[in-house]
Structures are given as C-alpha cells and as structure tokens.
C-alpha cells in the first residue's frame, strides 16, 4: 500500500442540537487512490458524497464530527494533524472545487485578488509576483485576455469562466490531490464538456490525483480510473471503472448504469430507480438499500452486509451479490 491517499474505516456523523440525534453521513468508508489517478464517487444527493469530501479536507461544519477511521495523505495521518497543520495543506497540497461557481467567488473582490491571496497565504509570494502568477494561471485555464480579467469582479464573468477561475485557484499552489464536487452541475452542456476536457488536461499536466464527485455515470465512464458508488453514507461498490461497468455487482449500481440514457435509443429511456432515497437520519435496518431493492431477501432486512470481494480490486456490500459468501456463512 503506497497510494497517495489511503482512507480506511472513515465515519462522519452529524449530531443534532441536543446531542441525541446522530446522523451517519459517512459510514465506514475505505478506499485508496494513487498519484495521478482519478476516482469517481457516485451517488444520489444526500448519500454523503459532499460530506465525505469535506471530511477529507477536514473542513466540516461545527455540527459534524469525524467518529472513526483514518485518512493517510502522502503517508501522513490527517486526522491527527492540528488545525494549523491542516491549513498549511489545504489549498497547497490538496485542493477542492465546489459545486456552484456562481457562489464560490466572493462578489466583492477581484478575480486576481482571489487567486493571488492563495499564493500569498502559502508561499509568501510578493504581491506583484502573485498577481503575475494569477495572470499565468488564468491563461493556463484557457481564459482569454487575462490582464484584463484579473482586475474584473466575478459578476463580470460568465458561469463557465467563473468555474475556470475556481479551477485556477485550486491548482495555483500545485496540489497533489484535487477534489471536484459536482463541478459541472450548474453549467450548461457544451461548457460542461469543455470544462471536463480542461480538468483532464490539468490533471495530466500536473500529475494530479483527482477525486471526482458526481451523480453522472457518463462522466465517470469518460474520466475515471476507479469508481466508488455511495449509498446512504456507505460505499456499496468500489472498483476499476471497466470492471464495474461490465459486471456491476450491487443492485443499486446496476440500476444506476441502466438509468444512463443510451445513445441511439429510439425512446429516451430513463429507468429511474423506484422508491425514495432514504432519510439519512432514519436509515432502515440491515442494508439501507433493501426497501428499494428488487432482489431483496430476508437477510437484507436484518443485517447490514459486510464488504466482499467480487473480482480483483472490486468490492461490494451486498448479500445477494455475494452468494458464495452467504452460502459459506449458512453452511
């Protein structure tokens, strides 16, 4: 094990106002990511993807706490670092892009200022040099006329450009890991494609490891090496893209793949998964997916399935997908 990022048994909980209601937003999550590779994390909204990302950055809201697990980044344990040490890592060694480019830039400061301040916070760059670097960064994210753009305010830029600026901020200090939380959901389709292309270029150029959070499996198929499918805070299936797309083991993953609209289909076929995503604060007992699962057996209602290996590096949490294991336990 010598990955860039090694996560094991990670659990994050939200604690209610009176300290009684505990919501398991992230529950016993393990995965690893090698330098320069891309991991896609897929799931419905409310499945805990964003909380997982914020846990990795250790930037959770006050109501949340990391209950268990370990995050090793470049061989160092993040959970035992002080806030000061974490701050030195954030934006420098690991960066994150948020969902909404419209909202993630401060409307009252210029674009250049918001890029330069990251450099100045981490590298004691003089003001002039930081601004020059900001212009270079804008060029590297394909923004034309950077000399002019650095002096503009966010509202003067289009949505696509703003998201590029956010990307420029993320790569400004040359991080090793970039977490992108649904970076394209609020962009329209053509701009989405351009942006994904840009992300891919940046990744290759800088040798970045990328964690790509999305609910769009199509993007995952195009961009990622590894996939992790999240449901109700747990990784229900994880493995190499090819293996998962060709042989999905978990019924939820299967349903997700079937719901991708296929090019050339006569009727636009959108098989939505039946039933509602569960309320994270009141999960059903056993496997959280069982109320919506077409293959449900009694055991699913009673016991949460453990992780089992289906193929090389391909794991899942399902009783039905692991008949061998189930059989072994019965015998």
């Amino acid at each position: 094990m010598s990955g860039l990022l090694e996560v094991s048994g990670l659990s994050t909980q939200y604690v209610g106002a009176r300290g009684t209601r505990v919501t398991r937003a992230v529950d016993d999550v393990s995965f690893s990511l090698e330098a320069g590779k891309t991991l896609g994390i897929v799931g419905e909204s409310g499945s805990g993807k964003t909380t997982l990302a914020l846990t990795l950055m250790r930037l959770l809201p006050p109501a949340a706490r990391i209950a268990a697990g370990s995050i090793r980044f470049e061989g160092e344990e993040l959970l035992s670092k002080s806030e000061r040490q974490m701050r030195a890592l954030r934006g420098k060694r690991m960066a994150m892009i948020l969902q909404d480019p419209m909202a993630s830039l401060n409307p009252l400061f210029t674009v250049g200022d918001q890029i330069a301040e990251t450099l100045r916070a981490h590298e004691a760059t003089p003001r002039r040099a930081a601004w020059a670097k900001a212009r270079d960064l804008l060029t590297s994210v394909n923004i034309a006329a950077p000399e002019r753009r650095v002096r503009e305010y966010p509202h003067e830029l289009s949505g696509g450009m703003r998201q590029r600026v956010v990307g420029a901020i993320a790569i400004s200090c040359g991080p090793k890991l970039l977490i992108a939380d649904e970076p394209t959901t609020s962009l329209d389709v053509t701009i989405q494609a351009q942006y994904l292309k840009l992300l891919g270029e940046i990744q290759r150029e800088h040798g970045l490891a990328l964690i790509f959070i999305t609910h769009n499996l199509g993007i995952v198929a195009r961009m990622c090496d590894q996939v992790a499918v999240m449901y109700a805070g747990r990784l229900v299936e994880a493995g190499p893209v090819r293996s998962i797309f060709n042989h999905p083991a978990h019924p939820y993953t299967r349903a997700l793949i079937e719901s991708i609209p296929k090019f050339g289909d006569a009727a636009e076929r959108l098989t939505a998964i039946e039933g509602q995503p569960p309320d994270p604060s009141a999960l059903p007992p056993g496997c959280a997916f069982h109320p919506r699962c077409p293959f449900v057996v009694d055991r699913c209602r009673a016991e949460a399935p453990p992780e089992s290996q289906v193929a090389a590096q391909h794991r899942t949490r399902c009783w039905v997908a692991a008949p061998a294991l189930a059989g072994a336990l019965k015998g």
Binding site: V15, R18, T51, L60, A63
Partner: protein, 298 residues
C-alpha cells in the same frame, strides 16, 4: 448533504447558553410566573395595597424605602413628592399596565386580523387599499403617531387603548395577510370553494381558525411593545391622566426627585416595566419558536 443547514453543534455548552436555550426547548416558567404574579397583584390590588395610591400625606414627602436611613416600616418602598406610598402605587400601576396592555393588544389584534384576512382573501382593490394604509401607518414611528393621536383625542385610559389599537393593528395585518395568501392556495380552502361555501363562511370557518395561532403569538410579542408605549405616553403626559397610578406616570413624577437622588422613585417603576416587558418578550419568543417559526421577520 448541505453542510450549512446541519444544525447546531452539541459541543461545549456554557451556562448562559444553557439558560438561553431553555427558552426554546422548555417552557419559560419564570417569565410566565412573573406575568402571573403581576396579574394576581393587579386583580387583588385593593386587597394587597397598604394605602390609597392616589392620596398622599404632604408631611410624608420623599420618604426613602424602609431599609434606608430615614425610612420607616410604614412605607416599605418610600413615598413620592406628594407623600403617596410608592408600593401601593406600584401595585395599582400593575392593574393599569395589565388592563391597558391586554385590551390594547386585543383591540389591535381583532382589528388587524380582520383586515389582514379581508385583504389577503379578497385581494383586488380591497387588498390594495388596506395594504397601502397599512404600509403608510407602519412607516410612522409608533410612538410619534401615538403621541399625535393622544394630542388629538385627549388623555384617558379608554383613549389610550383605542390609540394603541389604532397604532399597532398594522403589525397584525401584514403578517396575517401573508399567511392568508398561502392558506388560500391550500386544498381545504379550495375544496370549500368548490363545495360552494360563501366567502364569508370560508373566511370565518376555514381561514380564521388557521391564523389564530399566529395572531396569539404576535399578541404576546406585542404586549411588551404596547406596555412600553403606554409608559412613554404616560411619561410625556398624554397617556393615563394623573393622579392615576401608572408606572410611566410614576417615572414622570420621579423626575421631580431625580436631582435630589431620590432613586426609588425612578428605579422601582422602571424595574416593574422591565420585568413585565422582558417576561412578555421571553414568553412570546418561546411561543413563536414553538408554534410559528415563520414569524421570524418580527
């Protein structure tokens, strides 16, 4: 998961915060008890009060409270500039505050709720007229408006109630109207329309019961405001006419002994006002959180 809406942390809880959060979670016993005691004092004022609050003995002017040198057991909280017993005046003052406060809140509430329902449900020009008037009256600072009305109609307890009602109904009308606007779109109201109920019936049987909660919460919150306004009017001499014992009036009289350092004439009535207003606000806050979290804008 939207991180910013995830609620409050369970983490370090200091004592004042625990005290403050009591009023959200548990029933505010202390404020309610204080209001209850003031109400009892008001009701039994003539039994409890040791003296007639309106008649003083000039020879006993400016007696300090019993525990200060020069004070006596005869006047526990001292006497004022014409020798009236401060304790008795405070006790009867509770009656004035309670009666004026409650009736004014109710008058304003009935007026404002009725107009709010009419405005919200009927819409059209009725709505336009009522809301323009409401906005204009809301723009006037309540106290200034009340002073103006008081100057026009002259001081009396009855007039104060009418004035306060006339000044404060607008607050109800605004809130109730916006509530009615959303109620109007609800299924049970639509069903009633389809069933052929008259507008009058719908407003009385279906809308009114559903806005009553808000009106009561609002009323509790208004109680404090109304009492302070009454005190201010009386203080300025356009409220409760002397020699009636109203707390605001006592503060005005207390000014006569202020420079001589007769603190009890200023401090004690103020504490009574503060206790009552603070209690009403705490109770109202609790009710608001409990019944109507949407009333945040007040």
């Amino acid at each position: 998961m939207n991180a910013s809406q995830a609620g409050t942390p369970a983490a370090p809880v200091s004592l004042p915060w625990r005290l403050a959060s009591l009023r959200v979670e548990g029933f505010p016993w202390i404020p309610t008890a204080i209001l209850g005691v003031i109400a009892l004092v008001a009701i039994f004022a003539n039994v409890i009060a040791p003296y007639n609050p309106e008649i003083g003995v000039l020879g006993d002017r400016f007696r300090p409270p019993a525990w200060q040198t020069g004070g006596s057991e005869a006047h526990l909280l001292g006497t004022d500039h014409v020798g009236r017993d401060v304790l008795s005046r405070l006790i009867f003052g509770a009656r004035v505050s309670m009666v004026v406060g409650f009736t004014a809140v109710i008058v304003a509430g009935i007026l404002g709720t009725t107009l709010g329902i009419l405005s919200g449900y009927l819409g059209g020009w009725v709505d336009q007229v009522i809301m323009r008037v409401t906005d204009t009256w809301l723009a006037l600072p309540a106290l200034t408006f009340a002073i103006f009305l008081a100057a026009v109609v002259g001081p009396s307890e009855m007039n104060i109630v009418i004035i306060l009602g006339a000044v404060y109904w607008t607050r109800y009308a605004r809130v109730i109207r916006s509530e009615v606007l959303s109620l109007r779109e609800r299924d049970f109201v639509r069903l009633a329309i389809v069933a052929g109920c008259s507008k009058k019936t719908i407003m009385r049987r279906h809308i009114l019961p559903n806005v009553l909660n808000s009106a009561i919460v609002l009323g509790t919150l208004m109680l404090g405001v109304v009492i302070v306004t009454e005190a201010a009017l009386s203080f300025l001499g356009v409220g409760v006419p002397p020699p009636k014992p109203a707390w605001g009036l006592m503060l005005a009289d207390g000014k006569k002994g202020l420079m001589a350092g007769y603190w009890w004439l200023t401090v004690l009535p103020g504490i009574c006002i503060m206790l009552m207003v603070l209690s009403a606000n705490l109770l109202g806050d609790w009710l608001r959180v409990k019944f109507d979290p949407q009333l945040r804008q007040l």
